[in-house]
Each structure stands twice: as C-alpha cells, then as structure tokens.
C-alpha cells in the first residue's frame, strides 16, 4: 500500500482485513504488516499486506520495502488532487526500481462526493495507459473487495 499521507491506506487495509473503519486519522510510521486469505474461485491465496507510511514533504516512501513484492496498491485521496500527482510519481519510481509489477489505483474516499476534486479525465488517462482504477471508500466499504481481488488476480496473471 503506497501513496501520499492521509489518503486512507491503513483504513483500506483495516476494512479489507478486519471489516472495520475508524473515523480518526492515525498516521502510520514505518510499515504495518497484515495478512488476509483471499479466495478466487476455488483457489485460496494468502496475501501479506505491507502498509507503508505515506509520502509527505518531510519523508519519502522507502522503496526497498517493495523488494519481493508481488503487486502494489497506489492509493489516492479523491478530495485532494495533489495525491494523484504523488501516486503517479511513486508509480514511476517503483517501475524504475522493480519494473512492471501488477498494480491498482484506489481512488479512495468515494463517500465524500461533495468534496471530490479529482478530474475524471485524469483517471481516464490512467485507465487508457493500462492502469486498473477503482473508486473505493474505506468508510462504506465500496470498491474495497473488488480492488484487492483485482490486484490479486493481476498478481496471479489472470487479468
């Protein structure tokens, strides 16, 4: 899980793994490890989720954490357009570091439609470039399962 700070990476993992949501913003330091069994048809996949501290003006994402990763989620906050720029920059750095790993862009906080600031055209451009883009809400749960399932399918080469 990579992206700018406060985009909801930890909340997405909590929703996915534990089915809960906490309204408070609690920052992540270092990396947080979680595990989840994902079922794709009759196949069971043990997924280990590395939730990396977000990128901000004070500290960058430690890309060496991604060594050995099978895929990654780029998380964007739909109410903060700059977080899409951060995600795109991170993706470029990751591709330079590790090559073309399966990935998915989670445009999070889709429940905050009144505050939505990401232009659809920019997301369309990402899709046209081959990225899987999913609107998610860690609060309501919208899109969370499909987003992770889509990533795992990509990791297994099913997409």
């Amino acid at each position: 899980m990579v992206g700018a700070f406060a985009v909801g990476k930890t909340s997405l993992v909590k929703r996915f793994v534990k089915g809960v949501f906490d309204e408070r913003y609690l920052t992540t330091v270092g990396v947080k490890i979680d595990r989840k069994e994902v079922h794709l048809g009759d196949q069971q996949v043990n997924v280990m989720l590395w939730d990396l501290a977000g990128e901000d003006a004070l500290s960058g994402v430690r890309l060496d954490y991604l060594r050995g990763a099978s895929g990654y989620v780029l998380v964007v906050d739909g109410t903060r357009p700059d977080t899409l720029d951060t995600a795109i920059t991170l993706r470029t750095r990751i591709q330079g570091h590790l090559g073309g790993l399966p990935s998915v862009v989670a445009v999070n906080k889709s429940d905050l439609q009144d505050e939505w600031r990401i232009e659809q055209a920019r997301l369309d451009t990402l899709r046209e470039a081959g990225s899987m883009v999913v609107h998610t809400s860690a609060m309501s749960g919208e899109g969370v399962e499909p987003m992770f399932q889509g990533l795992v399918q990509g990791m297994l080469g099913r997409v």
Partner: protein
C-alpha cells in the same frame, strides 16, 4: 571481555527488551543475550545460547536479512544497517507492537539486534501525527484560499458584465459591437505580447470601452444622421463619463476598463480626445481598442449610415497609419484581419444578424 562483563551486557539487553542474535554458518541464529519475555513467548523453548530459526516469523525481518547479509559481507565493521520500524498485531486484542532490527558485524561475527522500540515508536508517531495534521490543515487552508479567490474573480466578472449590460440595454444594437471589441482586443493583446495579468482582464475591460454612453441622451446616441458640433461634443463626453463610472475600483478588470474608457479615442498624433495624449503616452491597451473600435464602427452599419466595404475601411485605416493609429498596432491588426473577421462572424452567429450594427 570477561564472563562477568558478558553477563552484564546480556542482562542489559534483556532490560531494554532487546535480543542479541548471532548468525551461524547454517544461517540459523544463536541467542547471545538474556531472553526478554516477548521473545520467549514468540519462540517458546528457546534458551540463551540456543539456536532459533527466524525464517517466516517476521516477514519484514526475512526481507531485511537480504540487506543484513550484504552488510555482513561487505560492511566496514563499524557501521550498522537498520530495518526501519515495522508494526505487527500481537495478542488477543491485536495490540500494535513495533519492531526494529539492526545488523552489525563485530570481529567478523554476524550480529543481529532485535528491538521492540515501544517508547521511541510512540514518540515518532506523536511527532508524525502532529506534523501531518499540520500539513493537512495547511492543505485545507490552501484549498479554501483558492476557492475564495475563484469566488472573488467570479464576482469581479459579474460586476463587469452587468456594467456592460447596462450600456447594451440602452442601445441593443451595440451588443455585438461590445463583444467584437473585447475578443478582437484580446487577440491583438496576445500577439503584441501584453503581460498575462493584462490579458486576463483585457477582453472584459475592452468590452466596457463605451460604458459611458449610458450618460449620452437617446436623441444623440440613436440619432439617424450625422451629429452637429454640439451633439458631437456631448457624444465625446462618453469617455469621461465612462471613466467616472469606473474610477476608484480595486478590481483589476475595472481599473483597466477605466483607462480604456477614458482614452480609447486618443490618437497617435495627439489630435484625439479627451486629453490629446500623443504616441506611447497613450496606454497600449487604448491604442489597441482605438484600432479595433474604428474598424468595427466603419465595417458595420451605424444608425445614420450603412456598413462600409471592408476594403475601403482597411484603406482608410492605412491612410491613418502614424496619425490616428500607432503604426505597430495597425500593422498587427492588418495581419490579424482574417482572424478578426472570423471572430466577428462567430459573434454574429451567436447573437443573430439582428444584433449587428
């Protein structure tokens, strides 16, 4: 180191909650220090001096050992490499517990320290939380300022449009004229390299050049024939009336509109009105509007005469090069004339032929 000293060191590790391990040739680890409680719980049955396989116990550690082994092979024997903090859930309540590993080589021995830096982690989280909340506040503030700026700009535009509409209301035939002057002036301004902040407001400001006609009596403004000298003098006051309407504003569009309203009938040779300004003393924006306004007035029908042929108008303008018009501005206008005709046609199409003068 004496056995006593070694014992003190091992106990110190236990007190700080750290555990010192040494990698053997089989890549398993031997416990060097006393065992802290958490380590004993995680690896039951292991005792000091005993062997332990860490593989699979800590995913981040598995990952870090690649880096650690590289350091043990190639390190300088002084420095250390750290894994960075990782957090795992522990116990029935899923309590978040921080871990950190440090790899160090001492006298060729491959040492690994495993820490649970609870206090330091708590401090780092507090610091990061404060810093990031502050960054979020700043982001929110910037968004609010940007939104406020957009609202102010929209308000400026609306005020200006309403002023223009006032003149349009008096003489509906001038509506298309107003739009043509604004858009043609903007095109000219771009080609002549006016600054971005001027271009930002030039269309609107130029559109308001005749706003002073709101003070011109209908008997003169709508007279279906030539004006006599007194009527012409009254007609000319639309420049100063417009400037009075627009004076004292802090709104950039209105400030430029005032300048244009006042001096768009000045002439390059100083024979214009109201102030008889000459040459570059006339602001560039006014020289631009002077050219496009003259062309537009001649090439379109007036209340007292029909439209003149375009070729005739262009010849008349060239005859005024260096007299009525700034030569440079006139040359740019002539170059852009085809584009200006396209602009006029587009406006005609949008307002309908009945709106043409």
């Amino acid at each position: 180191m004496s056995p006593e000293d070694a014992g003190v060191l091992a106990a110190l590790f236990a007190q700080t909650g750290s555990v010192l391990l040494e990698e053997g040739d089989d890549r398993d680890f031997r416990v060097v220090s006393e065992l802290p409680e958490w380590f004993s719980q995680r690896f039951p049955g292991v005792v000091r001096g005993g062997g332990v396989s860490l593989a699979g116990s800590f995913p981040v550690l598995d990952h870090f050992l690649v880096e650690a082994r590289d350091h043990w092979r190639h390190g300088d024997g002084v420095s250390a490499v750290k894994s960075g903090v990782w957090v795992e859930d522990e116990g029935p309540t899923d309590q978040e517990v921080p871990f950190e590993a440090t790899a160090r080589s001492v006298a060729g021995r491959r040492l690994l320290v495993l820490d649970r830096p609870v206090m330091r982690y708590a401090d780092e989280v507090r610091f990061a939380q404060r810093a990031r909340e502050s960054l979020l506040d700043n982001e929110a503030l910037e968004r609010a300022v940007a939104q406020r700026t957009r609202m102010i700009r929209a308000r400026e535009d609306e005020i200006s449009v309403r002023l223009v509409s006032a003149a349009e209301f008096r003489d509906s035939a001038t509506g298309a004229h107003i739009r043509r002057i604004g858009q043609s002036s903007l095109l000219m301004g771009r080609v002549l390299g006016l600054p971005a902040d001027v271009l930002d407001v030039l269309d609107l400001a130029a559109s308001m050049h005749d706003v002073g006609k709101i003070g011109t009596p209908d008997s003169i403004l709508l007279k279906p024939g030539p004006l006599d000298p007194d009527e012409r003098r009254i007609m000319q006051t639309h420049t100063t009336v417009g400037a009075r309407i627009l004076r004292g504003s802090q709104v950039p569009a209105l400030q430029l509109a005032r300048t244009i309203a006042l001096w768009h009938h000045e002439k390059w040779d100083g024979s214009g009105y109201p102030d008889g300004l000459e040459g570059e003393a006339i602001p560039m924006e006014c020289r631009i509007v002077s050219v496009v306004d003259y062309y537009d007035a001649c090439a379109n029908a007036r209340p007292y005469r029909g439209a003149l042929p375009v070729e005739t108008v262009l010849e008349m303008m060239q005859a005024e090069r260096g007299r009525h018009f700034d030569p440079e501005v006139l040359d740019v206008f002539l170059e852009l004339h085809p584009e200006i005709v396209r602009i006029s046609r587009a406006i005609e199409a949008s307002v309908g032929s009945g709106a043409e003068e």
